[in-house]
Amino acid sequence: MKEKNGALLWKLFFSTFYLSAFTFGGGYVIITLMKKKFVDGYHWIEEEEMLDLTAIAQSAPGPIAVNGSIVVGYKLLGLRGALVAVLGTVLPPFLIISLVSVFYSAFRENYVIGQLLEGMQAGVGAVIASVVYDMAAGVVKEKNPASLAIMAAAFGAACLLEVNVVLVILACGLLGVARTLWNRRTRV
């Protein structure tokens, strides 16, 4: 890393901007592409370290793509790096969706597009159902009764009792803290 910091910042910005603008398919895909670019391409980060940074990106709340660029930017150039990387990641979807929102109502009133969008609702439902099936199968495979109980209770609370989602997440997070501390104590 012998380049001047300014040049490096620009390179970081363009890299994250480019990755964000052309990555379809969510956070996990963009993390893989980041690894290709920053580890294999630029040799800015060690392979091992990238794995840990990925774990952090997945652990922190918020979009994985955003978290990924923050931790990579921070690792490379500190706070400035993190800010530049976030800006690069957020700008492309921001610009695209701004444009889409301007035309949305006109689009929606068009008969053909209206029908297309309506049909796609069933498609989106199917995509989510499929994702949920895969995720739930992963939880079931663990054969951990506590995890299954959490899944059932969270579903009941959110879907049937209409409890605020934030409360459900807070409760389960606290439960996780308690479980971890408990395991620690019994292990020692």
């Binding site: 921001f94 701004s98 929102s101 995720m135 989602v165 389960c172 803290v177």
Partner: protein
């Protein structure tokens, strides 16, 4: 004040969506559709459709979309910043801690308990979307008022995703084309 309200709403969405991807859906629905009514259920589903077909995280797309609709350009900037701020603070903090200590088992433990809950919450959001698709916004769920064409399209899509392993974007486009075809043929 609407800008402050939006900022705070999207701050919560950013702060409490763990696990990426669809994890933000139930939170966006809770804040944007259920609590503030900035989008209807149908618009919310359109938003997910648009998000699937454009690059970028759903939460950012939602922030920009809702922000523009409710408060113009300033609104979209405020909402997007609110959405990203928790990530900026927490991901930086975690990276800092990690580079110092290289250990995070408490966090992993918390995530382990959150994962099943997140699955359940996404399922719950998915059900709201299907209810809207099959029976329309706010309509009572009654057998005789079911949009059977939509149920059929849903079944075809599930088959294409699970058995034929087509990509989600392709399946969604096909769903739209199917509905258009059915409507034009006299549905």
């Amino acid at each position: 004040m609407i800008y402050l309200q939006m900022f705070f709403s999207f701050f919560q969405i950013g702060l409490f969506s763990f696990g990426g991807g669809y994890a933000a859906l139930p939170l966006i629905q809770g804040q944007i559709v259920d609590l503030h009514g900035w989008l209807g259920m149908e618009e919310f589903t359109d938003l997910i459709t648009i998000s699937q077909m454009t690059p970028g995280p759903i939460a950012i797309n939602a922030a920009t979309f809702v922000g523009t609709k409710v408060g113009g350009v300033l609104g979209s900037v405020v909402a997007t910043m609110g959405c990203v701020l928790p990530s900026c603070i927490l991901a930086t903090l975690l990276a800092k801690l990690y580079l110092k200590y290289r250990k995070m088992d408490l966090l992993q433990g918390v995530l382990h308990s959150l994962r099943p809950a997140v699955v359940a919450l996404i399922a719950s959001a998915g059900i709201s979307i299907l209810l809207t698709a099959f029976w329309g916004t706010g309509a009572a769920v009654a057998l005789e008022r079911t949009h059977w064409a939509m149920v059929g399209i849903f079944a075809v899509c599930v088959f294409l995703l699970r058995k034929a392993r087509l990509s989600p974007i392709l399946v969604m486009v096909l769903a739209g084309v199917l509905k258009l075809g059915i409507s034009l043929l006299g549905g």
